[in-house]
């Protein structure tokens, strides 16, 4: 309700900042101008009959001929109801499995996400983005921002974090607005203290790490620390291959060591602004305690268990991973030293990760949005130009094909008569 009231009060020319007195009243992060659909709706329309397009595409596929990206983009642009979204999903899947899959246009992807959000099919959008291999949906940063923001608006932080995970898999944390939004989403999700499976831990850790690498402040460093700690936990339990398989992560051992390096960097940083949040440090502490206690119970349990089981476990674990696990006590001692050093230097921020992320969002998001919007406007114009060019080219090709067909028919008729 509040969102629609906001949208009605806003015109395209006026940028309205979301000023709200308390954090709880603020339900979304991106300003209304960012999520406004006016610019997108103002593009030239290319009305097509969806049923006609669908039958043409089906016939082309049956005849084993390639379907052009223009037909797919027209289909997605002209969606007008929820059922048509399902049909469009099917055609996106078919296009991805056709010879032209490389040529799926950026504006088609953007339009698809916009249409899903418009007709309330957010889960569908998330599903296609998650299965990007099958659907070919690789949204650009603006589109990712829109998607994350819509999930934050609903308060569904788990799905917001899965979108952030997709951004991480694309390594698309280039824009500061994306970084801020992702850190906020992850902070809120972390605050709910969810029970994470190993794969979820791995994904969250990787997103925290890669997002935090881009930011050089308290939030960034704490995110790096948390990310490295989570990945180190997975590394200790499952081995390094389970960590970097399918993720854009470095394959070197010692993620916990790298977490401690982050702490060292924070301690050694010259400026006083760069700190680490207390709950990040506490979380790492708990994690290390948990790992050392499980490794102790493992070693004591193995003595009592049969020798066969022990041998089987040894086969699975690599030599390098075993060496890594042996380093755990060293990590614990080093962590204790570093945390005491940080506290003595006063570099432990008492605000929680979530609060620091929200504070960051308050300060920087408005400034980060401006260049985004300008870039988006220029991008939309570029897309429109490309679209027009494609339409012109299609018309020319059709005319040429008709001409050739007429010539062939005329030649055949002449040959028959003669």
């Amino acid at each position: 309700m509040a969102a629609s009231v906001w949208k009605r009060c806003v015109t395209a020319a006026v940028k309205v900042k979301c000023l709200s007195p308390s954090l709880s009243a603020r339900r979304w992060l991106l300003s209304a101008a960012y999520t406004d659909t006016k610019v997108w709706e103002a593009r030239e329309k290319d009305p097509q009959n969806l049923a006609l397009l669908a039958t043409t595409m089906d016939r082309t596929y049956d005849r084993n001929l390639p379907v052009s990206s223009l037909s797919v983009s027209r289909f997605v642009d002209n969606i007008s109801s929820r059922e048509e979204i399902d049909q469009a999903e099917y055609y996106l899947y078919k296009f991805r499995h056709s010879p032209n899959c490389w040529y799926l246009r950026d504006w088609t992807i953007h339009s698809w996400i916009r249409q899903c959000l418009k007709y309330g099919a957010k889960e569908k959008a998330l599903h296609t983005v998650k299965n990007k291999v099958q659907y070919g949906i690789f949204p650009d940063d603006f589109t990712f921002n829109l998607l994350i923001d819509s999930y934050i608006k609903d308060g569904n932080f788990k799905s917001a974090c899965s979108v952030v995970e997709e951004v991480m898999l694309q390594e698309a944390f280039d824009l500061p607005s994306t970084q801020i939004l992702s850190l906020y989403a992850m902070g809120r999700y972390q605050a709910t203290r969810p029970q994470l499976t190993v794969s979820e831990e791995r994904a969250l850790g990787a997103s925290l790490l890669i997002c935090g690498l881009q930011q050089d402040n308290t939030v960034g460093l704490s995110a790096q620390l948390l990310g490295n700690a989570l990945l180190g936990k997975v590394e200790m339990s499952k081995g390094i291959h389970a960590v970097f398989r399918g993720m854009p992560l470095y394959w070197g051992h010692g993620y916990l060591g790298r977490a401690l390096d982050v702490m060292e960097r924070a301690a050694a940083a010259a400026s006083g602004d760069v700190k680490l949040t207390k709950d990040a440090v506490d979380y790492t502490n708990d994690l290390l305690q948990e790992l050392s206690s499980t490794s102790d119970s493992d070693s004591s349990g193995a003595e009592s268990a049969g020798e066969e089981d022990e041998e089987k476990k040894e086969d699975h674990v690599d030599e390098a991973d075993q060496a890594e696990r042996a380093k755990l006590p060293q990590y614990v001692t080093r962590f204790k030293e570093l945390s005491s050093q940080l506290e003595s230097e006063g570099k432990v921020d008492s605000a929680s990760f979530q609060d620091s992320a929200s504070a960051l969002a308050h300060q920087n998001l408005a400034a980060a949005e401006k260049p985004d919007l300008e870039q988006y406007l220029s991008r939309v114009q570029g897309w429109e130009a490309d679209n027009r060019q494609l339409i012109v080219r299609e018309k020319e090709m059709r005319m040429k094909a008709e001409q050739e067909k007429n010539e062939r028919l005329a030649a055949k008729a002449a040959a028959q008569q003669a």
């Binding site: 398989r245 854009p248 470095y250």
Partner: protein, 219 residues
């Protein structure tokens, strides 16, 4: 005296049709390189993969398994191979420029890729097809590590070492020189341990032709 070769038109036609049918029935990459991960056999040939590769096949991924999940199939990204990481200390990677994916594969994880190779820090100048794309050996270089790989400057090449010839061959060379020039050869003939020439059929053919030109009979 041989009979004049008959004009076998039908045989020509049959040959052309056979060539066309072979072209049409070429296997897709996804069919050729499909693998049953349970028995480690390729369904197409029924052959089993070598045993030393089994652990890698279970743990690592093919090139296109990585590229399928990336925007534009990873054009412009760097990819390394695990065997290079273990073998060479200097970074070696492929930078992808062009991709032709096999669209009949369900997960789009087979195909051909072209790119620029950087082996042991030395970048090549031409775009070549990525070799061994179907091996389960590939790793994606994350963007935050890309600069580290690209910044690496390879050290100077160690100088070429020389070694004396075996005694009989050395004697033959000195005798040949004395016969041809009249004077004794001043320098010791040495054999460079690095060969500049690529050994191929053309090279051997050209060497034989030269030898035939210069020497009438064997020594």
């Amino acid at each position: 005296m041989a009979k004049k070769k008959q004009l076998r038109l039908i045989a020509e036609m049959a040959r052309k049709i056979r060539a066309y049918r072979e072209l049409k029935s070429r296997l897709r990459e996804s069919q050729k390189y499909a693998l049953d991960y349970g028995t480690m056999r390729r369904p197409h040939t029924g052959k089993m993969l070598p045993v030393l590769a089994w652990q890698d096949v279970r743990r690592e991924s093919r090139l296109f398994s990585l590229l399928a999940g990336m925007r534009l199939f990873g054009v412009g990204r760097l990819l390394t191979r695990k065997s290079w990481l273990e073998e060479h200390a200097e970074p070696s990677y492929w930078q992808i420029t062009k991709v032709k994916v096999d669209y009949t594969a369900e997960n789009l994880d087979h195909g051909k890729a072209w790119g620029i190779l950087t082996l042991k820090g030395k970048q090549e100048s031409e775009v070549k097809e990525v070799a061994k794309a179907m091996y389960h050996d590939w790793r994606l270089v994350p963007k935050h590590m890309e600069q580290q790989l690209k910044d690496f400057v390879p050290g100077p090449e160690p100088p070429v070492r020389y070694v004396p010839y075996p005694p009989l061959l050395r004697a033959m060379l000195l005798a040949k020189h004395k016969k041809a020039a009249g004077s004794v050869l001043a320098e010791e003939p040495v054999l460079p341990l690095k060969r500049d020439v690529l050994l191929s059929k053309d090279y051997f053919r050209s060497q034989e032709q030269e030898a035939q030109r210069t020497e009438g009979t064997a020594v």
